[in-house]
Amino acid sequence: MNAIRAGVVASAALLCIVGAAYAQRGGFRFFSDEDDAPMPADAGEKTEFVFARLRYPSGRFWGYAGYWTIDYPKADRQFLQGLRRLTRIHARSVEEVVSLDDDKIFAYPWVYVVEPGHWTLTDAQCKRLREYLLRGGFLMADDFHGSDEWEVFMASLSRVFPDRPVVEIERSDPIFHVLWDLDDMMQVPGIVNRPYFRTYEKDGVEPHWRGVYDDKGRVMMGICFNQDNGDAWEWADDPTYPEKYASQAYRMAINYIIYSMTH
């Protein structure tokens, strides 16, 4: 009996160690204590803008619970503080989790998805996402890296829009100028890159700001590939996280939000 108990404890300990190490490599991540953030007093305020975080399936049993929660909820709430301070957008202090399994998402015309390099959307979800975007919704995809994750990302996206290409967004596009002029942008590293001698993960050396356009030439999806803006928001209050990355991450996302509210 003692042997069994010792085995269970040892297995659990091993699982924790392996899990933590894997998480630091950018593998599956659960909602961890370090991502936690206190619930603001005005969390129940009814506002115009709500930061909607997309919950999605990511193919593996443990991943379903995990990938969409990366940096959640601290990144969201910390970003929202900046959004509220820097703009006139009437924004709620806390995020809202939405999924593609019901029509609630249509009440939130701006949605953030993290780690979509692991999403495995069902056909129904692809259909709802397509409908959401064509009605006027906007999706910001962030924090996925390298060719493998791009392939996974595209495997679902190509079922959302078999007829629309993913293209690089030109620097002249209004999305980079709607509030701040973002002519010179750099790769925003995640916390895994600490101490930031290297800013990329896997083989995602070059950052890309890609998009999917609608028939009127408006960006429907802002795809931040090979960069980790979520970490930049989350760790903006960390003295070791370089301010220049945090600033750009805030500016870019705010530009995306204002763009989505004006185009």
Partner: protein
């Protein structure tokens, strides 16, 4: 009967003045009556008291009345009346020679009847007393010597112009009266005030003699078709077609609108109410830019007497111009994005937006150059008035300076633009609008409290006016339209506003459980322009909660935006009361000229370059109106039938102020098919306003004698005795008889 009792016709009494020809003073008459009354009272008191109660008083009253009448007769009552001196006055006799007079009434035409009246001795007896001038009239008046050339062939009836022509022709002559033999089927819509004034100035009574049936049955007629004169390309229009019918109750027909032979709309018509005019709404789309002549045709019903009055034409100017709308939004919000999307896809509108993204930054979209709106919301009239409509989003009143608030108010009031106020957390009641310059221009009352905005889902319903309004017309069929609105998703938020002001029209009402129904969309005319309140910032849900292909959100916003801009005038605004002149040759042109701040410009030089059929090209100068500042007018003779374009250009100090174009059509051989029944109402009114009398053909034989009583021309005052009127003797006899009958009844004879 009147004349038998009172010796003279009623007109003598209405014109004459009561006088007492006896030389004794009037006070003596009063004294006599009092004395007689006293004497009679004394006499009754002294009589044996056989009368009791109030009976002596009744007898005294009857006797005193009789004494009073007898005394009055001693004072020689008479009427002093002006009469035309024989052979010293002219009487104008005008006979209607228009097509409608050739209409058969039984075995004779109306014209035959008119000739018969004149030739049955009336004309001869008139000539015995007066110098008679004979005219025939229709589209124009012409003096004639006899009735031989009168054939009922003129294409229109203009009674007013005919009267004016006769007045002008006899300007230096003592004109005593006018006799007009007509059916009153005037094609100009009535007799203008100027003509009536001239007649009254010369005190010339007009005696119309009316011919023809007052009701023609069975017949249906398109009385009018009202459409906007101008519209933007691809706009939806609503035409109000008024149809009058007699004897066709229960009948069904089809009303069709054609543009160059192509059917653009068609609706069934059912005459449900007996002999009542029916107004049928026809919805249609304007189509591409250009001038269109829309033909409204009512399919003739079986047995209709006249099928030629079943069609009318209207000119529609579909403009290629793209009016500019300025949308100011106080903070980024979804409503802004989706309104931009809806209006941005409308090729007939230009949307310029200015959005406060941060405390110190604006984001401008749709600007034509970098300088546009560089300083934020315009502070100068010249800059703001360049737009045709304004949308004021979620912004506190205090964000605007008092001058800007006044400017926004003047934008609607003076410039004639449309202003739409949206709901939001910082606007209307929440935004201090009740204490601002905006309060007056809003079509609803707003409370001064910060809790009027609710970020909760809200239902709504259309009012009957909303269901009729083009703004809310999602589908043409009214029932399907109502159903479509019932199925619309909820709004994301709503704002409470007070009731609609008098004259404002609520088109939609909020329907939130537990709250009173308050106006959601309310519109009104304000000054030269119009204002509206849409008390929500949450109509974007209509887009996000419906299929991507659904166009209801876009359609609603485009229609609302078109309502805002469609009647916004430019600095020069040319117009005509009618764009189709049916057998009318006078084209009345009107232009309103304003400067860049839209203040009336009274010292401009305004001319119209008119291009018409067969290569016609003329320039006509418009003169300032004495009644309205900045308004210029001219009458231009459009003699040839066809399409005309008048380009009105205003200049000041050789510099062009602006220009505008108005298009119209001249049609021939149309007017006389309409309103063919006798318009007795018009003729009676003409007689009443000029001091004449309306005559039926049967009574007209008395005309020569009775028109003598006139203040016009050369007159003499004559006193006509009243003492020998049969009515006086009947009165005296009646008083005596009453006394006798009463005494007999009471047994005191």
């Amino acid at each position: 009967m009147f004349e038998f009792l009172f010796k003279y016709p009623a007109s003598v009494f209405s014109r004459g003045q009561f006088v007492l020809l006896g030389g004794w003073p009037v006070w003596l008459l009063g004294l006599g009556v009092v004395a007689a009354g006293a004497a009679l009272a004394w006499h009754l008191r002294r009589s044996p008291k056989r009368l009791t109660g109030g009976r002596p008083a009744v007898i005294w009253l009857l006797q005193t009345l009789m004494a009073a009448v007898l005394l009055l007769l001693l004072w020689h009552p008479a009427l002093s009346v002006a009469t035309l001196r024989p052979q010293q006055n002219v009487v104008a006799v005008l006979i209607d020679d228009s097509g409608s007079m050739a209409m058969q009434e039984g075995d004779r035409t109306r014209l035959d009847q008119a000739r018969e009246v004149l030739q049955s001795g009336v004309l001869d007896r008139l000539r015995e007393r007066f110098q008679v001038r004979l005219y025939r009239f229709g589209a124009a008046a012409e003096r004639i010597d006899d009735l031989l050339g009168v054939a009922g062939a003129q294409p229109a009836t203009r009674i007013g112009e005919a009267l004016q022509a006769a007045l002008a022709d006899t300007a230096t002559l003592p004109l005593g009266a006018m006799i007009v033999l007509t059916d009153g089927a005037d094609n100009t819509g009535g007799i203008d005030r100027e003509t009536i004034q001239q007649l009254r100035q010369r005190r010339v009574p007009v005696h119309p003699v009316g011919f023809g049936r007052e009701v023609i049955s069975p017949d249906a007629e398109i009385v009018d078709a009202v459409i906007p004169v101008r519209t933007l390309a691809e706009s939806r229009l609503s035409a109000q077609v008024t149809i009058r019918q007699h004897g066709l109750t229960g009948g069904k027909s089809q009303l069709t609108v054609r543009d160059a032979g192509r059917v653009v709309a068609s609706v069934p018509v059912v005459f449900r109410q007996q002999d009542a005019p029916l107004t049928q709404t026809v919805n249609l789309t304007a189509g591409s830019a250009g001038v269109k002549t829309l033909h409204f045709t009512l399919e003739p019903l079986a047995g209709e007497v006249n099928a030629k009055n079943n069609a009318v034409a209207r000119v529609l100017q579909v403009e290629a111009a793209k009016p500019r709308i300025l949308y100011f939004e106080g903070e980024p919000r979804w409503e802004f994005k989706f309104i931009r999307r809806a209006l941005g896809e409308d090729s007939s509108l230009q949307l310029t937006t200015i959005l406060r993204t941060t405390q110190n930054k604006f984001y401008r979209q749709g600007i034509v150059n970098a300088a546009e709106l560089e300083g934020g919301f315009p502070s100068r009239a010249e800059e703001l008035f360049g737009y045709a409509a304004l949308i004021i989003g979620n912004s506190e009143a205090s964000y605007f300076t008092r001058e800007q608030q006044t400017l926004i108010r003047e934008f609607a009031n003076r410039r004639g633009g449309g202003v739409l106020f949206l709901g939001g957390r910082a606007t209307l009641g929440n935004g201090g609008y009740a204490q601002s310059e905006f309060a007056e221009m809003l079509p609803v009352r707003v409370e001064d409290r910060k809790t009027t905005f609710h970020r909760d889902e809200a239902g709504f319903e259309l009012t009957p006016q909303g269901l009729d309004s083009l703004i809310c017309r999602l589908v043409d069929d009214p029932a399907a339209n109502a159903e479509r609105w019932r199925k619309m998703p909820l709004l994301a938020d709503y704002q409470e506003v007070g009731e609609a002001k008098p004259g404002a029209v609520p088109l939609m009402l909020l329907n939130v459980p537990g709250r009173r129904k308050s106006p959601l969309l309310t519109v009104q005319a304000y000054g030269r322009g119009r204002t509206a309140v849409f008390a929500t910032g949450g109509s974007w849900r209509w887009q996000m909660s419906q299929d991507a292909g659904d166009q209801t959100h876009e359609l609603f916003w485009r229609q609302l935006a078109r309502w805002l801009v469609s009647e916004t005038p430019g600095v020069v605004s040319a117009s005509m009361p009618k764009t189709v002149l049916s057998d009318e040759t006078r084209a009345p042109l009107r232009a309103e000229v304003r400067n860049k701040e839209y203040q009336p410009l009274p010292d401009a030089r305004v001319e119209a370059r008119i291009v018409g059929p067969e290569g016609l090209a003329e320039t006509v100068e418009l003169t300032p109106s004495p009644h309205e500042e900045g308004v210029y007018a001219a009458f231009w003779p459009a003699l040839k039938p066809g399409a005309y374009v008048a380009e009105v250009i205003a200049r000041r100090n050789e510099e062009e102020v602006g220009r505008d174009t108005v298009q119209f059509r001249r049609e021939e051989g149309v007017a006389e098919h309409f309103r063919r029944e006798q318009n007795r109402e018009l003729l009676e009114k003409l007689a009443e306003q000029t001091g004449g009398r309306y005559w039926t053909p049967g009574a007209a034989k008395k005309l020569p004698e009775q028109i003598s009583y006139s203040e016009a021309g050369i007159t003499a005052r004559e006193a006509r005795d009243l003492w020998d009127m049969p009515a006086v003797f009947l009165l005296l006899a009646g008083l005596r008889a009453t006394e006798w009958l009463l005494r007999r009844k009471w047994g005191v004879i």
